[in-house]
Symmetry: C2
Subunit: 203 residues, 2 copies
Amino acid sequence: MARQERAVRTRQTLVDAAASEFDRSGYHGTSLNRVCRAAGITMGALTFHFSAKDELADEVQSQGQLITRQALDGLPERSAPALHRAIDLTLELARLLEAEPVVRSAARLSRERPDRDLAWSAAWLTNVQDLFDQAYHDGQLHSAVRPASLTALSLYLMSGIESQARADHESPDAEPELSAVEQLRQIWGVVQFGICGPPGTGC
Amino acid sequence: MARQERAVRTRQTLVDAAASEFDRSGYHGTSLNRVCRAAGITMGALTFHFSAKDELADEVQSQGQLITRQALDGLPERSAPALHRAIDLTLELARLLEAEPVVRSAARLSRERPDRDLAWSAAWLTNVQDLFDQAYHDGQLHSAVRPASLTALSLYLMSGIESQARADHESPDAEPELSAVEQLRQIWGVVQFGICGPPGTGC
């Protein structure tokens, strides 16, 4: 293996190990010593690639944004109505939060390091907002619905999904009744058609 | 002031200072030194009341649960339909998350210390669940709606509100378009009546 290739692999091994640690223990709860142990790499090699924890966290957040953008770029385009595309986008985000420690970690670090310009939501929030605006203009939404409420709802939902996905990941034996993705799909079904029973039931 | 009363006040000053620090920086990001400085109390006095950070965090979480239960006990009883009571309960939780650092801190610590038996949601989740079940049995909900989806939705919403309330609190000048409570009220309006426009618009 060429020296450069080896360096790239070592660097990525460190980023993946750091992502798992940040995901589990947060920024302040993660020590570079533990990242080294988890990665099976010496502290000398770590500091060759990243001079401080800050840099490592920045890289995890950047990769989390990148993975998210790439996944969203891979979603089917244009043909479906805007509302369905907005919902599918949030389902894809939920899938990423469940499956990708780097993404889950980027979401957590965004909250813990709000001063860094690397918010995970920057990778998707504008897309969601545009799709809800489009759905409204296309008449898909009831005229009393503010698209901004649905954008806020999506942000809140992702925050909850992130927590559930982390808890499920930490206690794989607890077996939740529904996966986060399935739970989210049901919630959107509820939101689309409303929860009220027949008129006159006090809903 | 009697010695005992003084001790009780000192203890509460420490808990309040710790709540603000845990809220802002999380469990691992909080040092007892900083708590002492914020409380204006010596480390000797702190360790007289709390032998370790763990104990202080336990006390913050217990008080967060207690404040929450007391606030919910103070809500008007029985007369309103169950669905409205469930929604009002979540609005009260949002108010607490906005106004009470101890509650916001308890919510954060619950996520960061899942092994402690002090989850903030234990103070309210069963109530919400029972009210949604009741609303379903009373025919207030559409028969296709699973009450469990609404309980999960409430949990996700509180996770998002917690984040927004913390961000608003940390950057009071940023002035969000809507407070977390108002945002939540609009979201429940949307959820009650659904978001779909007239049939045939592809919703």
